[in-house]
Structure formats: C-alpha cells, structure tokens
Amino acid sequence: MNSRMSSKLIFEKSRSGRRAFAQAPVDAEASKIPSNLMRNDKPRLPEASELQTVRHFTRLSQMNFSIDTQFYPLGSCTMKYNPRACNALALLPEFAGRHPLGPVSHGQGFLTCMFELQEMLKDVTGMKGVSLTPMAGAQGELAGVAMIKAYHEARGDHERTEIICPDAAHGTNPATAMMCGCQVVEVPTGAEGDIDFDALKSAVGPKTAGIMLTNPSTLGVFERRIKEVADLVHDAGGLLYYDGANLNAILGKVRPGDMDFDVIHMNLHKTFSTPHGGGGPGSGAVGVNDRLLPFMPIPVIGSKQVDGETVYGWLSEDDLPQSIGRLSGFMGNAGVLFRAYVYMRMLGRDGMERVSEYATLNANYLSSRLKEAGFELAFPTRRASHEFIVTLKREARSLNLTAMDLAKALLDKNYHAPTTYFPLLVPECLLIEPTETESKETLDNFVTAMIEIATAAKEGAEFKDAPYTMPVRRLDDVKAARQLDLAYRPE
C-alpha cells in the first residue's frame, strides 16, 4: 500500500470527547427541547477534530480515480470533462435556494430556463415534446415504455404486450419492459453488429408493443438499417423507443426523431455536463413525438400569454389528463437540469455538432492506433461511433492475459480501466470510450500503456495480481460475494 494513504476508517480514529467546532453541541437549555426527549447516550458517530476530518476525507479523495485527475475511457459511460462554469452557474443561490413550494410568480427565472431547456432538447433530438421529470435514465426508460403501453391501451389495443430488445441491449431495457408488465422478445445481432433483420421480421407481429434500441448500439456501431427497422415495426403497429445512452455520438448530426423514433430518454447528467458515476442525482428527461404527447409524465413546464407577457408554469393532471402520471413532485434534480441548460447554451448548435465530431474522431483514432499495435477489434470492418470494442480472446488464450488483467494493469499506469466484459456478446472485451474532451497526446500515451502491458505479457509477465501500486490490490470478488461483510461494527 502507498504509505501516504491510510486505510483507517474515521470511526477508528475516533477519541471520546474530541470534536470539531462546527459540530460542538448547542446549549441544550437554549434549544428548549423537553428533557424527556433528550437522549442519554451519545449517538454512534466518530469523534474527531476538524483537521483530522479534513485530512481523512482529503486523503480519501486522493485515492479516487476521477476525470479531474486521470483519463477515464469507461465505455458506455461518457466520462467527459464537465465545464466548471456549468456547476458554478447551477449553484447560484437564486436557483439553488429556490423553495419548491414558492409561488410560480417568484420562480419565473427558473421556469424560463427549464422551458428553454425543454425547447432545446426538442430541437436537438427532433421530438415534439419533452418532459424533464424522470430522475435518472432508468426512470426515463420506465416513463418511455409506460407511455408506449398507455398509447396502445388508449386505442383499445390491449393485446400488445411484447417489447423487442436486441441481445446487445443494456440490461435496463428488458428490465424496464418487465417492470411495465410486458414480455421481452430478444433479437440477435448480425456478424457486423447490426440487428439481425430477418430475425426481427419474424419477431414483430400483432403482439408487438414496441422495440427498444440504442443507436449507435452498445457495440459501438451505428445501426445502418434503422429506417427499415422503423418501417417494419411501425407497419406491425409497434412503436420505437430510443435509449439515449449513446446520444453523445450523434449530437447535432442525426436526430432520433428523424430516424422515426416515437420516444426517447436522454441522460442529461451524462451527455450534458454533470459529474456522474456516484449514483446520482441524474436526469432521464424524455422526448416524444406527436403520438405520445398526451401521455407525457408530469410536471411539464408550459407557457401562456398574460397581458402581453409570457408567463411560465407547471402543467399538471388538468392540462395532460392522459399523462402516465407524476414521477417526481418537485424537480429535486434541478441542479442537474441547470448544468445541462448552461452547457447547451455555452455550446450552441455548432458546438453540439463539434461534441459528436470530436467524440467519434477520438474513438476512431484510438481504435485505429490500437489495431495497428496488434489489438483485435470486435468489429474491424466497421467505423467506430464514439466508442469501440477490443477483444482479448486471443491474448487470454495464448498469453493468459484476460480483459480483467489488462484493465487492472492499466490502473498501475495511472489510467482508469475501460468497461470490461460488456457487452456480454463479445468475449474478453474492453469497451473504450475516450470522449471528445481528450487531447491527442493523452490518447497516444494510453496506446503506449496498452502496448507496454501487451509486450510485457508476451515476454512472460503475469498481471494476475495487478494492480500493484494502488491502495488496495486485486480484490477477491468471489470471496466478497460469498462472505458478505458490509457493515462496520464498533468494538
């Protein structure tokens, strides 16, 4: 272990009676809490000085891999740089301090921004309506499929209960379909990464409620027959759902609405500038076309003219009686929405196009260089989208170097590992997404690190115990799962 880094828990540093000024108890007398409600025992909290606490958490933060400190090519996650300005403006007290039950007339600034955010998202995705209310990507998916269900139900089309998912889909897609009471029909992928069109043909029918697609797919390639897929599903009476996970690849270039998708969710925290990966808060805003407009989740921001002035307000059940309902009361993720708003305003229309251009340029540069260096691409005949897959099937067999070994060895080279073993279809795979915010030098240095590891493996080096330089070495994930030990128990 690196000597600078202590592995002690803050509880283990605790000494009875030690405290930080900020946590000093208030005078119980002054607080007027009745004595029968006062606790007799100290709460089980660590007792540490302010400086101890600052050092403890600063050290912990130094043990972290983050986009602020390292290249972070975690495929499917879009770990790009989030401009500081987005954060600074979202934290303005006039926005951050707004009371959710404050009168609408006091929140016109906030509501104007949110209305404009809806409009900008409509424009960039080619959809007819946007609701910002889902709190995360998974909730956006739930809202999307619930709207598809509501649409069929409203037409008296009760037999449509099947949702088609490609076998390369994110696991959340079939999970969402099941949550909405549908059955999942899986469709295989062809050799070049497109959906197997013939299999899709036999999968659609009078029971088809819809299909859930990610485009570009999780395999890092664009679905080339998307128009035919859309026609096939629509002709069968089903709707098309667009999983916005890979929106970064097509921003400003192709619009899901123009690909004939009926409903889409967007991970605003991912594509539009919120540091993510810590479990939230997120934002899974949904966009819909004309068909699904009446079913949008509420609240939605609307506008009307009062005495010649535009006034913004919340649309509720009265305005959207067919809505699938409320997913959140108060837009508690307003900070994420603000960051997205500021980010889009800063980029403008042209800037958004540059996002996808550089994201795909970086991915294609990196994949070409790795291919030249002897790594095997999972789809060598295809142009990468914003991410691509390297398979170590060959190295695993001949050098005993698995995708996990390489990923762990990269940590010792000071790179966050790419996504490993996803998509499940590709054996020993690394899903690599450099994003648009990295320089050529960073990409070149990453290639050098990959080559160094592969060369060392060819010369007989083993990486089964990597990482060697991190605060913790290779964890025994089997033992961790078999002998769960999750809670700290004080002596």
């Binding site: 499940l424 089997v478 799962a481 078999r482």
Partner: protein, 131 residues
Amino acid sequence: MNELPGDLLYTKDHEWLRREDDGLVTIGITDHAQGALGDLVYVELPEIGQDVAEAGEMAVVESVKAASDVYAPIGGSIVAINEELADIPEKINSDPYGDGWIVRMQPTDTFDESTLMSPDDYQQFIDDLDD
C-alpha cells in the same frame, strides 16, 4: 480439454441431462457453462413439486460476472433439488457433471431426444463457438 461424459445428452443452452434408471432425469450445466460463468456465488433453485414447462426458467446461477437463467430442457415436475448448492454453489464449478447437479425431474411425457445433442454433437457445437 476434458472429455465430455458419454452417457449424457446436451442442449445449446449448455445444460446436460442424464436418464436415471428410475425414469427420472437429472439436469445440470456443462463444464463449458461453468467455465464461461466463472466462480459461482449463488444458485436459486426451484421448489420441489413445481411444474416446469419446456424452455421455462428452472433455476438461476450467479457468478461475480453474470447471473444466468437455467432453462428446463424438457417439461416436467421437479422431484429433487441439490440443496447443498445453496451453501456451496462452487460444487458446480468443481464437479459440474457430478456433485454439481441441479435438479431431478419427472418428465411429463417420453421426451423427444432428437432435440438434444449427443456428446459428439455438443463438442462440435462448443468448438464452433470458440472459433
């Protein structure tokens, strides 16, 4: 590469079946399947007496890499389950064709062996997957 047991039948979902003398059928997952899944950490077993349709979900095996459904290769009723797997799921890793069996079933009808693979056919099937 280990030899496949010659007295078993196999499926493309990497399950094996053995016809027992008493007419019951024992089912487990193949060595190839346990190798692909990696170290198992959890096995969800069906209830004894439960009826399972052919191709229906029968059990779940979970490793640190993935959770995978085990589908019933034939329809029938569950007569016995390998309860030891609840505590020692790694038996499937160490002895997939023996102590790592998962369920015993009473088949509904005389089942159709033609849909199942012989050891040679299954060997060919997994060799093709590796290419």
